[in-house]
């Protein structure tokens, strides 16, 4: 194992996000005989999370614990990660293309004056060259991109590169590293949780999304119920957000979130090109709409033409029966 690839882990409410495990798998795609070195940052004991990264394939994990790393700031995390990079001189670095990943990785790339490939959905080798595939023009096209100089540095889109199976027989060293962190100029005063509890929209395997056809905030209730029985998350079209049926944090589309779940159920969504940009790469798409001419049927694998207020409750019952 001559090469090392750093995987910067990320947790939410003390639990590692799936994309961290996917990033470990991505590192192994970049180089199959590499040493995958997990990096975890925080203000409290990270041994359990480090162990989890090892079960998912990391060979070694470096934990950096400092009171200034209690919550993410680009300054604090930036200093800590740069210090690890300096120690390890990695061949590659992988992180999730999440709010933190998007914020942190360009800073590091810029500091080191290196390239960065954001939002990769696939990694292949062409000889020695690592080729990343990423969506451009909101998923209307894809590009294959390579790093021509310096560290192979990429963020990966959640839900696209499958993680390895968890295996408790895997073992590896956990190292604690101490760092000095200069005073932070940016302070987080408060966090207001608006995102729905439970399943994270960008990582959800199932998304139930509503559009203008849902007609009201109340109309979203059955969608939440369906999402719950499916273990998924609720999303929305811009139309539904503009009409105040739900919060903009749920918006899927060209502006808004891009999701690629296994199953996307579009309810009362007409399928404007801007919405398709946020979901058309979903693996299976179901459309439920009373307008048989709605554009959403052109991208759907399965369609039901009908009244969503009739269809959704039936669907909830059917799924419940199936899961019972």
């Amino acid at each position: 194992m001559s090469e090392k690839i750093l995987v910067i882990g990320e947790s939410r409410d003390g639990v590692l996000r799936n994309v961290t495990f996917e990033a470990i798998a991505a590192a192994k795609k970049i180089s199959s005989d590499t040493e995958v070195v997990g990096v975890l940052l925080g203000s409290e004991n990270l041994a359990d999370q480090a162990q989890e990264m090892i079960y998912y394939g990391a060979n070694r994990v470096i934990t950096v614990i400092h009171e200034k790393l209690a919550s993410y700031t680009s300054e604090g995390y930036g200093q800590a990660v740069l210090s690890v990079i300096e120690d390890e001189s990695p061949y590659g670095i992988v992180m999730g293309h999440t709010a933190i990943g998007k914020d942190l990785t360009p800073k590091i790339a810029s500091k080191l004056e290196i390239g960065l490939i954001s939002d990769a959905i696939e990694i292949n080798l062409d000889g020695d060259q690592v080729v990343f595939t990423r969506p451009i023009y909101s998923g209307k096209a894809f590009e294959k991109k390579v790093i021509t100089d310096g560290i192979v540095f990429a963020t990966i889109r959640p839900n696209n590169i499958p993680s390895l199976d968890r295996d408790e027989s895997r073992s590896g060293e956990i190292q604690e590293k101490s760092v000095d962190i200069a005073d932070l100029r940016t302070v987080i005063k408060e966090v207001l949780r608006k995102a729905t509890d439970g399943v994270d929209l960008s990582e959800a395997k199932v998304v139930v999304a509503g559009g203008r056809g849902v007609k009201s905030a109340d109309g979203f209730k059955p969608l939440y119920e369906l999402a719950e029985v499916l273990g998924g998350a609720v999303g929305a079209s811009r139309g539904a957000c503009d009409a105040d049926y739900c919060d903009y944090s749920l918006q899927i589309g060209q502006t808004g979130k891009v999701v690629t779940p296994d199953l996307y159920i579009a309810v009362g969504i007409s399928g404007a090109i801007q919405h398709l940009a946020g979901m058309s790469n979903s693996k299976v798409i179901v459309a439920i709409n009373k307008d048989p001419e709605a554009n959403i049927f052109n991208v759907a694998d399965y369609g039901i033409v009908g009244d969503l207020f009739e269809v959704i409750p039936m669907l909830i019952e059917e799924v419940k029966a199936l899961k019972a």
Partner: protein, 257 residues
Amino acid sequence: MNIYVLLKKTFDTEEKIAVSNGRIEDDGAEFIINPYDEYAVEEAIKQRDEHGGEVTVITIGDEDSEKQLRTALAMGADKAVLINTEDDLEDGDQFTTTKILEAFFEDKDVDLILAGNVAIDEASGQVGPRLAERLGINYVTTITRLEIDGNTAKIDKDVEGDVEKIETTLPLLVTCQQGLNEPRYPSLPGIMKAKKKPLEELEIDDLDLDEDDLEPKTKTVDIFLPPQKEAGRVLEGEVSDQVKELVSLLRNEAKVL
């Protein structure tokens, strides 16, 4: 306040994308201001109206980019700068763009730089944070509220739906998220005035840069369109039967339940 906006022109969101010879075909395409950059222009104008100062809009592009700059001027920006790389650069990436902007800002006295949080074409979202790092100033991405009081900025930051209340200090770079404001449409008098507002055109020579300084660190080796999706199956029959069939298909054929 000295306020700067980083602006990029992008394809209109309605444009269909075609690829020829491994490149996106842009002949005849309609271009617009990147939608997230419109939030940045709007916010810059609002902050200037509240605190005084001047808004300068900058873009890196070709001579056609003047159109988007004039639109920003018509919205209310005071000055525009076009860094025209058409004759000098074959390729570039986020490193290249940052390097050019870094050189541009070298002798500028900056209080606030605003940018979109992502451009809807290449969608890397890198240039804002990259530039802030080079300039050694604070940055906050995906903001939905900005309140400046003296040297302090109070910010709401969207974090995948949650809101972080952040306090930081100027000089500052922010990238704008939907929800920050409602970008205004240029008014007719605004459009007339915009024609007379200063628009400076620079080339990389003027910034003491040459091609070698700007050599990208990444390279696009191919561009392709997603496979055409075949039209799906619209189910038929009684609604209750359709729902039963759907669940069965999702379980047995699509294997997602």
